[in-house]
């Protein structure tokens, strides 16, 4: 019999090494799970998209700095069974007990269905409307970012020379319509003759259509542009390249065009998430329904860019002080939609905290565009 190419000795050495490697690689997993608190973040897009997902990833980065907390993150998770399984995977493999699945479509049915199965896990969702019939271990939070967009509008109102401003929007849904309306109403607080043209791209991440829409807005004479899409980077770069001023959204986009950037409506999830995690670490419970605005630190403004005039800075600061007092009213009667129909009668007013605003279905007078 010929000699085996692998001797018994080398086989034993190799298998011992392999076993050792396996043990070593599985050891940190167990050790990590024994940590104090593991928090999972799930994003629908790339976490460096200069937009919605980045704003949440910045929040996750703030949570990472809290001692005794381990953060696990996963990006580009679609709103399908994939998110259910991602949540379960974080619970089963990482020992996560506090989850932030951040995309709107994760809420119903995925979070609502999974929560009863894992009663010891807390599910915190951004943008959903939690109601008392929903599971107790689910919470929903959101910020009144429309007030920050209103401040964007004030800067835009001062900066525009053509009296036309433009808005690139994803879908005609309440959260987006509210922002479009606030952008124009802010600008009209400067000059009531200003109009705002809106183009809907049809989906949350459509870079090519977003660039086309921005170009058509510039062609139509709009000289201040903002956007409500998941990643406003393309809109900002295209608009600035065409010489228009820009107002940011979701995250700070000033680095893309510092000279053209007026200001921006930013989420401040770092503060919100730090508060939530610290409450959990102390053994407390996060409220099931949480909302907050500029005053509560849920949203913030990008620092004013160099292009703003002194008059713009003055009015911006004055209105911001009013908003910081809370319950600021932008939507008050009499107000008509852009088809001439009265939507808010005289004497009726909706403060920023009014839940009725979360089902807005109209564009106010002065917005050029259609909801359908």
């Amino acid at each position: 019999m010929s000699r085996s190419p692998i001797s018994r000795r080398s086989f034993l050495t190799a298998s011992a090494g392999l076993a050792g490697a396996t043990a070593l690689s599985s050891l940190p997993l167990a050790a990590r799970a024994a940590g104090k608190l593991t928090v999972g973040f799930i994003y629908v897009g790339a976490r460096d998209d200069y937009g919605y997902n980045q704003s949440h990833a910045e929040g996750a980065a703030a949570v990472k700095k809290i001692p005794g907390v381990k953060v696990v993150e996963q990006e580009k998770v679609p709103e399908t069974v994939a998110v259910t399984k991602t949540m379960e995977s974080m619970i089963n493999f990482d020992g996560a007990t506090l989850l932030f699945p951040t995309s709107f479509g994760y809420f119903d049915p995925f979070i609502l269905q999974l929560a009863p199965k894992y009663k010891d896990v807390r599910f915190e969702h951004c943008g959903g409307l939690w109601t008392p019939k929903d599971p107790r271990n689910v919470g929903s939070y959101f910020g009144y970012i429309d007030m920050a967009v209103y401040l964007n509008g004030i800067c835009a109102g001062h900066a525009t020379k053509t009296k036309k401003i433009g808005f690139v929007a994803a879908k005609p849904i309440p959260q987006v319509l509210e922002n479009i309306n606030c952008f124009l109403l802010g600008a009209r607080a400067v000059d009531p003759s200003i109009t705002c043209q809106v183009i809907f791209t049809g989906d949350w991440s459509m870079p090519v259509k977003e660039a086309e829409a921005t170009n058509s807005l510039c062609d139509a004479g709009c000289d201040v542009i903002t956007a409500h899409v998941d990643g406003p980077k393309v809109v900002m770069q295209t608009a600035a390249g065409r010489g228009a001023f820009i107002c940011g959204y979701h995250a700070n986009q000033s680095a893309l065009a510092p000279d053209k950037y007026l200001t921006g409506a930013e989420w401040n999830w770092g503060k919100v998430y730090t508060d939530f995690v610290e409450t959990t670490l102390k053994g407390g419970t996060i409220d099931n329904f949480v909302r907050g605005g500029l005053k509560e630190g849920f949203v913030k403004m990008s620092p004013l860019g160099p292009a703003n005039s002194d008059a713009a800075r003055k009015q911006f600061e004055a209105v911001k002080v009013e908003i910081m007092k809370g319950d600021y009213v932008v939507f008050k009667g009499p107000m008509k939609d852009n088809k001439g129909k009265e939507i808010i009668p005289a004497g009726k007013a909706y403060p920023e905290t009014d839940v009725a605003l979360e089902s807005m279905n109209y564009l106010v007078e002065g917005v050029i565009g259609s909801t359908s």
Partner: protein, 368 residues
């Protein structure tokens, strides 16, 4: 050297049980070998990035197939992939490269949801089959139209099916945000939620819905249709040589229309299960890319409906492991995409190896 007669007439002397196995073994050994080469090659890429391939494959195994939870994770992702794979594999046997299953999934789901809402309080036994039929019909019309355009107007089916997919997705969005929209679905436009009686539940003891069983049965039936019936035989002839098929008097037009429509029907049923078992309503989440993954699956399975099963499970397992790989190895989410692409390319390249290995030649085993 054996004389030609041995090869021409295997019933003559020197018959060996290994001879018929050789050809079949070739179709199994080459793809598996190519997959192994692809995985090894990807391991080299990881090494170049300074990551451990051993840890990577351990994580992929653990998250995709290593625990009971992993299996449920993989299986629950596999259902739409199985149907989408069939949507590409069936027309491919006729030589048609149809890549627009995504549109049929979206429209199938929308049709099923619209009918479900209209049926209201119908019992499950009546409602669900009707909804499945509506989904299948919508998908069959969509992909069948691609086949019809191909046969009667000479329109390239690859291009037309891709463009039809864009139209299908746009049509779904238009319907879901317009006429079919539930006014209560504020920030995610959807059709009205389906009543509980019209929802498909999970297989007992698992959190995987019944769609998986239906999809597996569909794969087996499609294999029987393709390999064991005269219709399938006719389709394969038309796929190999359409002129020869026409000369033989085979109904090429009807075969093309039938098999594209059948493929589309499966994609539509994938949409039906997404709506009734997962989403509970039709909305933009139906366009999750399953239709495109189906192309990959059908090609890796070499258009064999039975091989669609292991390939779809493998890809579903890869997807299930994507999260753990991201979280524990700090690799970008595109890693699994690159892995899939590397394996895909190596398997396509391996097509040139068929007939090159003497060990798989039946004549090699026919000698006494």
């Amino acid at each position: 050297m054996a004389d030609q007669a041995v090869v021409m007439a295997p019933r003559a002397r020197g018959r060996d049980w290994r001879a018929p196995l050789a050809r079949r073994a070739e179709g199994i050994v080459i793809p598996i070998g190519a997959s192994a080469v692809g995985l090894a090659f990807f391991g080299l890429i990881l090494l170049a990035m300074g990551k451990s391939p051993v840890e990577f494959y351990q994580l992929v195994f653990k998250a995709g197939f290593g625990t009971a939870f992993s299996w449920q994770n993989t299986l629950s992702r596999a259902t739409p992939l199985l149907f989408a794979g069939l949507c590409v594999a069936l027309p491919a046997r006729l030589g048609l490269v149809v890549i627009g299953g995504e549109g049929a999934i979206c429209l199938g789901g929308t049709a099923a949801a619209a009918l479900g809402v209209a049926l209201g309080h119908a019992p499950s036994v009546i409602g669900l089959p009707l909804m499945a039929a509506a989904g299948a019909l919508a998908g069959a019309v969509w992909i069948g139209a691609v086949g019809a355009l191909r046969h009667w107007r000479g329109v390239n089916e690859t291009i037309s099916s891709l463009l039809m997919a864009y139209i299908g997705i746009a049509l779904m969005n238009q319907l879901v945000e317009g006429p079919l929209r539930d006014p209560a679905s504020l920030n995610k436009p959807s059709t009205a939620p389906l009543p509980p009686a019209l929802r498909v539940g999970d297989i007992p003891g698992m959190d995987v819905h019944w769609g998986l069983i239906v999809a597996l049965v569909a794969c087996v039936l499609c294999w029987v249709l393709m390999e064991r019936t005269t219709i399938g035989f006719a389709a394969r002839i038309a796929g190999d040589n359409v002129r020869a098929a026409q000369v033989q008097g085979l109904p090429v037009g009807r075969l093309i229309l039938g098999f594209t429509a059948l493929g589309g029907a499966f994609a539509g049923i994938a949409g039906f299960f997404e709506v009734t078992a997962v989403q509970g309503a039709a909305n933009a989440s139906l366009a999750a890319g399953y239709g495109y993954t189906g192309i990959l699956i059908a090609f890796l399975a070499r258009q064999n409906p039975l091989a669609v099963i292991p390939v779809a499970l493998l890809l579903a397992g890869f997807e299930a492991s994507s999260g753990l790989v991201q979280r524990h190895m700090d690799l970008p989410d595109a890693t699994i995409l690159v892995l899939k692409a590397v394996v895909f390319v190596v398997i396509l390249v391996s097509d040139t190896l068929y007939g090159r290995f003497r060990i798989f030649t039946p004549s090699r085993w026919s000698q006494p």
